[in-house]
């Protein structure tokens, strides 16, 4: 299959990539750019582990063809911390015991960012609603919800 050139801004940096028309964004991020924080969990959009931001919208990279993000700005888990400083959501996850095996966490933190950008003070129910498409098998979501609330507090103070 013929490759096509796409231009994207990934975690603030411009990139030009050659991709096949059937290539998934997940595989481009992981295999071509070495951004392995974005995880494969199911390949069918059921677990949310592959969630990234495309133009600030959460998207399942396992169901997104790379050619469709031409011209877009993409944020992956690797793009959240700036100058070695954790994003407040990452900091809250670390401090609230929200991370166990950690495999689902990149996708959930990305979703939490999308949520808090849109709704800075979500209720428990709103957080649960945002986590609908995410599977975490370790935490029972309890400390994840607590961490998102703590991040919401920290971000409103900042």
């Amino acid at each position: 299959m013929e490759e096509r050139k796409i231009r994207v801004k990934i975690n603030g940096r411009d990139c030009e990539l050659s991709v096949k028309p059937n290539e998934l964004l997940l595989n481009v991020l992981r295999n071509k750019l070495g951004l392995c924080g974005t995880k494969y969990g199911c390949g069918t959009g059921d677990c949310g582990a592959c969630t990234v931001l495309v133009n600030n919208e959460p998207k399942l990279s396992c169901l997104t063809l790379a050619v469709t993000v031409d011209g877009a700005e993409i944020t992956t888990i690797e793009g959240l911390a700036t100058d070695g400083k954790l994003h407040p959501i990452q900091d809250a996850f670390v401090k609230n015991g929200a991370i166990q095996c950690g495999f689902c966490i990149p996708g959930i933190i990305i979703m939490a960012k999308a949520l808090l950008d849109e709704n800075p003070h979500p209720t428990d129910e709103e957080i649960k609603e945002a986590l609908k498409g995410h599977l975490c098998r370790c935490t029972g979501y309890i400390n994840i919800i607590k961490a998102i609330k703590a991040a919401s507090m920290a971000m409103s103070k900042a």
Binding site: R30, G43, V94, G97, L131, C138
Partner: protein
């Protein structure tokens, strides 16, 4: 108790939290080796078949490396070697020519890209001779049914398999007939528990590099790097010093990697044939056909006196183990043990049978038979209490196995005496917190939406240790060394499934050495640079793994103090160590003598400069006990009598894990276990199509019912508290917690449903359909 410690008992941030929060943590699927090929597996379309012909020539013509049954070693093995050889049943090979379930591996390929490997897979021609499958364990035992395994290997002897019965365990204590005659009340019941898929987020994967010396270097999803090494060495005839399995983070497991995952030996075979590194990451569909929890049919009869004291119990268990016997024999022994250790029962009979069927093989999953037994035993005990007009709490307190009693930690061969027990404290405090006395009676609850409160208690062993060698191997090993700048390397092959066992281990090391936690790091560890550790299972991480680290750290401390003594001129036994957070160092000092102080760094540097050697130790530890960790659950559910939906709304959870090493992660483990238990009892199950033997969801998560965040009670409605206990045989008084926290969850939900609507439902998962059916059978509302 914990206040005397500087690190143990205090909350800390686990070392892997930041790498995991920033996407930097590496898992097997993230390993990249220059020049590596990508592997894919061809899997059986049929639940039971013989491969008449398999032709890989077209795939090979396009440049793919291919392997079939003809290319792999023929000696049978068992992928789990936690048990001693006399209890390890060998029934499989790396690839098969007689697949026993849909999804069983029959061939594999490796190629430059995943796409090319996928293409090669499609070019392999297979001619199957379909055989009659059998899916129901009871039918499978009947004469004339197709046999899955005619024979297996046990300790190098061929053992014939009859009626598909893979293992049988019978245990009898006292005289049950006499016991039932003496009982004032006898009740009988049957429970069915589900075939839960582990749903760990990371699918099973392996990366294998063939080395010039004929050996292999391996990264894989595993709970035990050393057992993977031994197995690969045995299967492929490679000396163990040439098999190096590297420890890497595991994206969840819950038991599904207690065995060497099937993907590993296949990847090794491909890499050896290709003479190139091979990476194989399985898809979710493949993973769902690879492992599940042991489902059981449990028939139980119990007899009690009027005051609620148990006098006899008889249990018959049939386990549907699927296509391979990974650990059915130890499972049956453990299952009997969990019953024996739940209630003091003077007369007991247990018969367990494990039966082969043409389904994905079942293996360990959190609790290992314990939630299944707990489900029937605790719901029927509740029923006895209700029938006798007694408070279920009172009945539990009369019958529980506690302080001074004998506990079966891992079946009949692993027993020890209980030295710490917080059951009574947990039950009484929990009852108070939930408002047990005001829970009401089902017959008084009106309306379509009613609430009920249930109680159940459980436990799990901490390790498979014990005074005598049982049928399970159980010891850990570690090396600890102090570096020239006063920092500490911990080389521990123990795995961490995510629960934080290793973080607890580091805290135990920091506490023992008297250095700040920041000074202690886990060193990259593999099987060549570390001593043996059996496996992370049986809730042994903190108690046995942590116990080992404490033992080794004590030896390091001794050496450190001897060296400091030479420098300071103070007897080593008069020296103490305190962590100094400003210096970021441990400081060794003689109490009350000024000027007699030196940092760990200065001692280590002096030892180097004066050629005294490295301050280090390496050792192994077998725990001589298997103390139970206890949990007590009080859960409130809301039942909608029109729709049959059950929603958990509130929980009070008490846990006795001895000294709590880290309050944040101990609670987090309980949260997770509560969640998995709820999902287990309310919705999870893998079902098979009767005609084709395929999973009804075809292996897609979209067709697998599982609880999500929205189904959980709010964080403020889940309260967790700990008993004030100290386990004298554990590191700083600690026991385990992990599996204890899931075991009573199915039962507590069923008991709460009874309290809401007055019916006992003992068939998992308790779906809305089953609730409605039970209500209908009860007759009206």
């Amino acid at each position: 108790m914990a206040t005397q410690y500087h690190t143990v008992g205090k909350p800390s941030i686990r070392k892997d939290a930041i790498p995991k929060a920033t996407g930097q943590e590496k898992f097997t699927c993230d390993v990249v080796i220059p020049g590596m090929l990508y592997g894919r597996i061809l899997r059986s379309k049929y639940p039971h078949a013989r491969i008449k012909r398999i032709d890989t020539s077209k795939a090979e013509a396009m440049g793919a490396i291919c392997i079939t049954f003809e290319d792999v070693p023929k000696a049978k093995y068992n992928e789990r070697i936690v048990s001693v050889p006399s209890a390890t049943f060998k029934d499989r090979t790396v690839l098969t020519n007689k697949p026993l379930h849909v999804g069983e591996a029959i061939a594999a390929v490796a190629a430059e890209t995943e796409e090319k490997a996928e293409k090669a897979l499609r070019l392999i021609e297979v001619e199957y001779e379909p055989l009659e499958p059998v899916f129901d364990p009871i039918a499978a035992m009947k004469p004339g049914k197709p046999s899955l395994h005619d024979s297996i290997i046990l300790q190098d002897k061929v053992v014939e398999i009859k009626n598909n019965i893979a293992a049988k365990v019978e245990i009898s204590e006292g005289d049950v007939e006499k016991g039932f005659r003496e009982a004032d009340i006898v009740i009988e019941g049957t429970a069915r528990t589900s075939r839960v898929y582990h749903t760990q987020l990371e699918t099973k994967s392996a990366v294998v590099v063939p080395e010039p010396n004929g050996g292999v270097t391996i990264w894989t999803t595993t709970q035990t790097i050393h057992n993977c090494r031994i197995l690969i060495g045995e299967i492929f005839g490679i000396p163990l010093n040439k098999v190096n399995v590297k420890k890497i983070s595991l994206g969840g497991s819950f038991g599904s990697s207690i065995q060497m995952n099937s993907v590993l030996p296949i990847t090794v075979a491909l890499a050896l044939k290709a003479k190139r590194p091979v990476k194989m990451c399985t898809t979710r569909e493949e993973d769902m056909y690879d492992h599940c929890r042991y489902p059981m049919i449990l028939k139980y009869k119990l007899g009690a006196k009027k005051d609620g004291r148990l006098v006899a119990g008889e249990m018959e268990v049939i386990v549907d183990i699927g296509a391979h016997n990974i650990q059915a024999y130890p499972l049956l022994g453990c299952t009997a043990g969990w019953l024996v250790s739940l209630y003091k029962m003077p007369n007991l009979k247990f018969v367990g049978k494990a039966v082969y069927t043409n389904k994905a093989p079942a293996c360990a999953m959190q609790g290992f038979g314990n939630p299944q037994v707990n489900f029937i035993a605790q719901t029927m005990m509740n029923e006895v209490a209700e029938k006798l007009g007694l408070d279920p709490i009172e009945v539990e307190l009369k019958n529980y196995v506690g302080l001074g009693d004998v506990f079966w930690g891992q079946g009949p061969t692993v027993r020890s005496v209980i030295r710490s027990c917080g059951v009574e404290e947990l039950i009484k405090k929990g009852a108070e917190m939930i408002g047990w006395k005001n829970r009401g009676r089902p017959q008084d609850k009106k309306g379509d939406i009613v609430r009920g409160i249930g109680m159940a208690r459980g436990f799990h062993t901490s390790s498979a240790g014990g005074p005598m060698a049982g049928e399970a191997v159980d010891f850990s090993g570690a090396m600890i060394k102090i570096n020239e700048d006063g920092t500490v390397d911990v080389i521990a092959p123990l795995q961490d499934m995510g629960g934080g066992a290793l973080e607890a281990g580091l805290k135990i090391v920091a506490e023992t050495l008297g250095v700040p936690l920041d000074c202690v790091e886990l060193a990259p560890t593999d099987t060549c640079n570390s001593v043996y550790d059996v496996c992370l299972h049986a809730t042994r991480g903190v108690y046995a793994g942590g116990g080992t680290l404490k033992k080794v750290a004590e030896q390091v401390r001794q050496k450190l103090l001897e060296f400091a003594s030479r420098i300071l001129g103070v007897y080593p036994h008069a020296l103490k160590i305190r962590p100094d957070e400003n210096l970021k160092q441990g400081v060794i000092y003689a109490e009350g003598i000024s000027g007699k102080e030196i940092t760990v760094k200065e001692v280590a540097a002096t030892a180097r400069n004066k050629n005294w050697g490295t301050i280090a130790a390496v050792d192994s530890l077998r725990q001589g006990q298997c103390p139970p960790a206890y949990t007590v659950y009080f859960v409130e559910v809301e039942v909608n009598k029109r729709t049959g939906e059950v929603k958990p709304v509130r929980a009070v959870i008490g846990a006795d894990c001895g000294t709590v090493i880290d309050p944040i992660y101990a609670v987090a483990q309980i949260h997770g276990s509560f969640y998995r238990g709820l999902s287990y009892v309310l919705c999870e199950d893998t079902k098979y199509k009767r005609r084709t033997g395929e999973l009804t969801n075809k292996g897609f998560l979209s067709g697998y019912n599982i609880l999500k965040a929205e189904d959980m009670p709010n964080p403020d409605d889940i309260q967790v508290f700990f008993a004030n206990t100290y386990e004298e045989t554990g590191p700083f008084g600690a026991k385990g917690i992990g599996e204890a926290a899931i075991n009573p969850v199915p039962a507590v939900v069923a008991n709460a449903i009874y309290n809401a609507i007055g019916v006992w439902i003992r068939e998992m998962p308790i779906t809305p359909e089953k609730v409605l059916k039970a209500l209908k059978e009860k007759g009206g509302n």
